[in-house]
């Protein structure tokens, strides 16, 4: 999480002056946080300064004696010489009742100069901008950090998610669900008199056995702990259609198949989209080129690896299990190729601006 916070803030802040976003853990106190982060203990004369600055930069912190777990606090860095915190402690007679920092309280000293370098954006302005950007409600903050984590780790998660969707799609494909639908048709044939009871039992068991064989150990996953034979049954209640349970399962599995197919498509497009988004949202030319190299490498590898896998699939019909393994392998190779391409760019071509040469920066902005 700390590295994630750093990567977020270093986009707009000098690396040696980056604030830190700290998530309060159970058992934390403000004095302990200040001691751990600033090595300033309660008896230190600078303690009040640091506490006042925390109160100023954190709207959610209204009482220094009242913090709660998962609360997010901005911890601003000390001045370079560690001589004082960002703001002096007010004299007791002037202490604002709200505990908020008032810039006019700063004595005319080097601190004012440090905070307001002529012609430059102040450090305080950076922090204010970040305060405006960060959501304030706890749930929004949670969502923000979840999305930021996904943004940071999309490459790895997309491999797992792609493999998951591919295999899930195979598991709940319409081809498999056809066996369940067949049970319904067999029952209707039996009720019409086209089949005897023995024939109905035999065909029903054969269909369910074939389905269970195809699903293998994932049978119970799809039917919430039951086997297909236990779950796919004729309803005996007169209040419900005889095949009501079967219809309910079919509807659920078909819905899952739709989600799986959409998920695979979404991820296929999202992979390129995320690369474009990341290029557009960084101002560092080198970073843009690195992202481009990674995206191109992974897209290329994923595509040609899939074509190459065609030779294996041509020579051998495969079930969903082998398809899962092959698909996962291709996804991993794609991810690894992206990393390798970025490494190649960094090792030999740092001075090249491929983003500008290819016109990608005009497309992704």
């Amino acid at each position: 999480m700390n590295s994630l916070v750093q990567s977020f803030e270093q986009a707009i802040l000098p690396t040696d002056q980056a604030p830190m976003l700290y998530r309060v853990k159970p058992g934390d106190t403000l004095s302990r946080i200040i001691a751990d982060h600033y090595e300033i203990h309660y008896q230190d004369p600078r303690y009040q300064d640091v506490q006042a600055s925390l109160l100023h930069f954190n709207d959610t912190l209204t009482d220094p004696n009242l913090i709660h777990p998962n609360q997010l606090l901005w911890l601003m860095p000390l001045t370079p010489d560690n001589a004082m915190a960002m703001c002096p402690a007010p004299a007791p007679a002037d202490k604002p009742t709200s505990g908020k920092f008032d810039p006019s309280m700063i004595a005319d000293s080097g601190l004012r100069h440090w905070l307001m370098p002529s012609g430059q954006t102040t450090y305080g302005e950076y922090a204010e901008r970040m305060k405006r950007l960060m959501p304030t409600a706890t749930k929004e903050q949670e969502a923000f950090w979840a999305l930021a984590w996904l943004d940071e780790n999309y490459g790895v998660t997309s491999v797992a998610a792609t493999a998951g969707f591919n295999s899930f799609g195979g598991l709940v494909s319409q081809a498999h669900n056809a066996f369940i639908a067949e049970v319904k048709h067999i029952y209707h044939d039996y009720k019409r008199g086209a089949l005897t009871e023995n024939q109905y039992d035999y065909q029903r068991q054969k269909a369910l056995k074939t389905y269970a064989h195809k699903l293998g150990s994932f049978e119970k996953l799809l039917f919430k702990g039951q086997t297909a034979r236990e779950a796919i049954r004729i309803t005996r209640s007169k209040a419900l259609p005889a095949t009501g349970v079967i219809d309910a399962h079919l509807e659920r599995l078909s819905g899952m198949a739709k989600v799986a197919s959409r998920g695979g498509t979404v991820l296929a497009v999202a992979g390129v989209g995320v690369g474009c988004y990341q290029i557009a949202n960084t101002s560092d030319r080198h970073k843009k080129n690195e992202i481009l190299a990674e995206t191109v490498g992974s897209t290329f590898a994923g595509g040609v690896a899939t074509v190459a896998l065609g030779v294996i699939l041509f020579s051998n019909p495969v079930g969903w299990g082998v398809a899962l393994v092959l698909g996962t392998g291709a996804a991993i190779a794609s991810y690894g190729a992206g990393i390798g391409t970025a490494a190649l760019y960094n090792s030999r071509y740092r001075q090249h601006d491929f983003v500008n040469t290819t016109g990608v920066d005009k497309l992704c902005r």
């Binding site: 319409q174 040609v304 030779v311």
Partner: protein, 123 residues
């Protein structure tokens, strides 16, 4: 110096494939000859699962790749009982499909050969 130019070759091959590969693949998949599908895209040549997974996006891309390999390595089609697929597609489609497969494999060979060398050795 050689490493520098070889690396540029790797990047050029990848960028070039990004430009021509996906669009060619998509077009070949969309315009797959109906005669070919009617003849072979069913049991026993493809399993029921495969026919469902490869009949639309994005599975049909893999189907195209399979038919492409049937032109280049027809001897591998014994298990699927697929042979002489060229008889069921127009000449232009067969040529385009072959060029696509050869192009992909040539690109893969170049990148897969050069990239590990460039990453592991400094020259």
């Amino acid at each position: 110096m050689i490493g520098y130019y070889l690396g540029l070759v790797v990047f050029a091959v990848m960028f070039a494939w990004i430009v021509w590969g996906p669009i060619t693949w998509l077009l070949l998949s969309i315009f797959t000859p109906k005669a070919l599908l009617d003849k072979y895209f069913k049991e026993p040549h493809f399993t029921l699962t495969e026919t469902y997974m490869m009949r639309g996006w994005p599975g049909f891309l893999m189907r195209t790749a399979i038919f492409g390999w049937s032109l280049i390595l027809p001897s591998l089609g014994k298990k699927r009982q697929i042979k002489e697929t060229w008889k069921y597609m127009p000449r232009w489609y067969a040529i385009a499909l072959k060029i696509f497969i050869y192009g992909c494999m040539a690109s893969l060979l170049i990148v897969a050969t050069l990239m590990p060398i460039l990453l592991l050795f400094d020259f």
